[in-house]
Symmetry: C2
Subunit: 297 residues, 2 copies
């Protein structure tokens, strides 16, 4: 089977053995925003044409490729949802030379009735749960997927019960690049003392919009060096996010890769939680699990 985690800015393709083992992987910068109208069949053939020629007949896609801006829209499946639910809800996509299916994203509502959505993270989550790194059998867990739109996910009884999205990463970039705060920043966010000072500050009274201004005043008074200011701002924002999203000092399963993992791990530890980091290729494993359960004929 071929599995493709196809997002907005990049795509990761995996060739899986019948038992789910990862045989080969490749990455492409051809995210859905780079694909011209009607160009998805050609883009898929360009990415995995040799695997198809070598005899693969099944292709399972996840991520923004199933959004309105993608190949074909796969309606969101409502939570709670498990791998079996996702396998039953895959959407067929016409393609010459293979059977192609789209995994739908998930939707939920929070207590106040505001909707929530994800596309692509659901396969990572089930891949992560299958690693068994969590205490117990991984059927009840709290997961965090750092990113420009970070997701916090509650798993109950092996299914995704609900989740919430936090615009922390995108807010950080907008504040750093497009407000007065960025003028006094020279470095990137690192998980050192300035980041921890931001985390500590996030626990004080005053609210995030007030705490943001402190990034500037600490700089004005020479108490925050320009090379530490991005770390402090990151600590403020991630600290506010973790305080809102962590329901207690439980273990949090961190899913993802890159520099955000260390920052979130530190923030979770400082809030009394235990951060457990996952594997970068979990999307392949999650797609494999769904593929095993999919009705391909």
């Amino acid at each position: 089977m071929i599995a493709v985690d196809w997002g907005t800015s990049s795509a990761r393709a995996y060739r899986l053995a019948p038992d789910g083992r990862l045989l080969e992987r490749r990455e492409s910068a051809g995210g859905i925003l780079r694909v011209p109208e009607g160009g998805f069949p050609a883009a898929l053939a360009g990415m995995v044409g040799d695997w198809l020629a070598a005899g693969e007949t099944r292709v399972l896609l996840s991520g923004m490729v199933g959004s309105r801006q993608g190949w074909q829209e796969a309606p969101y499946l409502a939570c709670p949802a498990g791998v079996d639910d996702l396998a039953r809800a895959v959407v067929p996509v016409p393609f010459d030379g293979a059977t192609v299916r789209l995994v739908p994203g998930l939707s939920t509502e929070d207590a106040g009735g505001t909707p929530e959505v994800m596309r692509g993270e659901e396969v990572q989550i089930f891949g992560a749960l299958d690693f068994g790194a969590l205490a117990g059998d991984g059927r009840d867990a709290l997961l965090c997927l750092p990113g420009s739109h970070a997701k916090w996910v509650r798993v109950a009884g092996g299914r995704i019960a609900g989740f919430s999205t936090h615009m922390t990463g995108e807010a950080f970039a907008a504040l750093k690049d497009h407000t007065i705060l960025g003028r006094m920043m020279t470095g990137t966010a690192e998980p050192g003392p300035a980041f921890e000072a931001g985390i500590a500050r996030s626990a004080e009274a005053g609210g995030l919009l007030h705490h943001l201004f402190g990034t500037r005043t600490l700089g004005l008074f020479g108490r925050l060096a320009p090379e530490d200011a991005a770390s402090y701002l990151s600590g403020l924002l991630i600290g506010h996010e973790v305080a809102s999203a962590m329901t207690g000092p439980a273990p949090v399963y961190l899913v993802g890769s890159g520099p955000l993992m260390a920052l979130y791990g530190r923030a979770i530890a400082l809030k009394g939680g235990e951060a457990i980091a996952g594997d970068p290729d979990i999307a392949a494993r999650g797609l494999g699990l769904i593929g095993e359960r999919t009705e391909w004929a």
Copy 2:
């Protein structure tokens, strides 16, 4: 006396009678960022040269003109501070043809020890208090000055006891213009039902960074129209600010002008407070009060 409220992007000059009465006012786009190095004497002469020629000999300046980027730096005066304290702390500025003094800005620290600063707002605050629109004698009050960096100010015994700054306006602009949220916005922020929905949302669990994402999902699900999205986002942000800054359902004296006044007034009312709007020319009155107490010789 001549009073000039000289900020980053504009300047307002006032000619005051000896009893403090406003004789004449004029506004200029010549904020300090437009003044070339060493160009402040010429800029002042250009703004009020005819008043000086007509016999005025005293000029009192406030605002960012007293910052490191301005004419001359006037060190911050620490809170608590009243008009008499400010009058004693004015800084002389060399100028041919008149006696020029700079009113210093104020500094304070919040409970966590993070510094806070203002420059220019202090004269508006004392001008506002002098209007007597507040219950009692205006010696104890909570004031809010909306703006890209909104200030909340506690006045006790007629002096500014402390204040906090919220980057709400600048965060709104950065989020609207430089994140995915802005892609689905067509209008400006107005104090109608969408704004009130944002205020109500701000009181729910989840935190601001999570609430931000709801602006997008409500749009995706057709529950927030593009022309209402800016109002909703504004309600979210101002709602979070007001909830953090309002210490109880007391009257809040709103100081300023422009469209933000109606938004803050509505947000304060929805949180159970009473918003009282001030006069736009209060800076002139505040500078007049300080000028009366200044040692000019």
